[in-house]
Amino acid sequence: MAGDERKPPVRVARTRAKLVAVDGVDAPAVLAAAKAALAATTPGEPAARGGISRWDASGIFQDLEVAEEEAGAASARTLLLLYAADLAFRLRWQIRPALLEGRTVVAAPYVDTAIAFGRAAGLPSTWLANLFRFAPRAAERHVVATQAAAAAKDGFVAFASHHVNGGSDLRARQRLITQTAAILARPRPAARRRRSPRARS
């Protein structure tokens, strides 16, 4: 019909679509665990693998590194707002499209790493929970346990601990990493359903 602008029907997603979260402070170990989780979730089915969604896919933190020298340091809150913006980008361009195609996607890291970092920095858990309300709950969650002192040479926790409030205090930086790892290692409370921040019309 002329003028009919209805979109074509969306293909029905395959049932094995799954979001797997892998969290931890040691980025290389998190990546290795993500690869293993992806292979284990889709054994012998490369077509069902949506891939791994990694930190800073949006390039926000890369840009931040360039800007920071003159602009003044970022606080833990600022860094987490930026992490959330990066995660929203990953969800839009990597995670949701893969899930819609019925594939398994591993988010490494996902929400728990950022929340643990925020808790280690002393931020209220209610603020952190609200911040990540837009992120869907993962069907599977893994935490990579690490000897924190040797870890965090790369990835969000290392970056954030290095940059928070200027990061000049080496002991404070190491304490943040250790506390983040300890919080991640704690048993997690039962999952509650997250509400989308999109207003209901």
Partner: protein
């Protein structure tokens, strides 16, 4: 010092209360100018600043989306139209937080008068007009820092549209083209600004803004703002601000 150090936070709360409620000390004041594009806020802000300086105030100005750290990140993503409503909201929240910590709170602590050309209410109005939930957006801005006075420059969507399009074409996000799906920037702006103004009007009621009729002459508005400021500056410091100040102090190791 970490924010998880409860003793440091308690000390910071005590210091904040002392600093902002000491009757012997001239305390910092925060005045926000809010309103849609084309409402004349910037003109009034400049006039107000000149007058305040002539009255002996030490004035600091901060503008929306102006953090040296975050602004370049937002600008490059706006240029390629790459932001979803959530990303738009979160990045502007980060910009605001960085300015609160680096510009606004240090100036208030030093007893200066801060004029904010747009404040967090801009984020709320625009993000809710983009379809986000007010509660989610408001909490992004916690711990909340409430201005001593909020002047809201009220204009109709038609006036805003006329004033903005008289000199330039609205940009993609300014026109809300990311959410209206309207190709023509002027038509999109008109639709989007109507939503933004509706949100502002709700916020004006909830948060008790001082509404200035921005359809009046520039001189009349300026006189009104001076009078309202002279009345309003005698208000006591809002204890709601204690958490924002305490967190900032503790973050800086109470080195103030």
């Amino acid at each position: 010092m970490s924010l998880s150090d409860q003793t440091a936070l308690q000390r910071a709360r005590r210091l904040a209360r002392q600093r902002f409620t000491d009757p012997k000390r001239k305390r910092g004041l925060l005045v926000a100018f809010e309103g849609p594009d084309g409402s004349g806020k910037t003109t009034q802000r400049k006039l107000f600043k000149t007058w305040l300086k002539s009255e002996g105030y030490d004035v600091v100005t901060t503008k929306w989306n102006s953090s040296q750290l975050i602004k370049p990140i937002i600008k490059s993503r706006k240029a390629v139209r790459a932001l979803s409503p959530e990303e738009f909201s979160l990045l502007h929240g980060a910009d605001f937080r960085h300015r609160v910590e680096q510009v606004i709170l240090p100036a208030l602590w030093d007893g200066k008068l801060v004029i904010a050309d747009r404040f967090l209410f801009t984020g709320l109005a625009r993000d809710v007009a983009r379809g986000l939930d007010l509660d989610w957006v408001l909490r992004l801005y916690q711990p909340l820092l409430w201005p001593d006075l909020v002047f809201y420059f009220a204009v109709s969507p038609i006036t805003s549209g006329k004033r903005v399009t008289a000199t330039r074409m609205p940009s993609f996000y300014e026109a809300g083209q990311d959410v209206t799906d309207v190709d023509d920037p002027v038509e999109s702006y008109q639709r989007f600004i109507a939503r933004v103004i509706r949100e502002y009007e709700s916020l004006a009621l909830i948060f008790n803004f001082i509404t200035v009729d921005a359809e009046q002459s520039i001189g009349e508005q300026h006189r009104q703002i001076r009078d309202l400021f002279l009345e309003g500056q005698r208000r006591p410091w809002s204890p709601w601000n204690i958490e924002a100040v305490a967190e900032w102090l503790a973050m800086n190791g109470n080195r103030r």
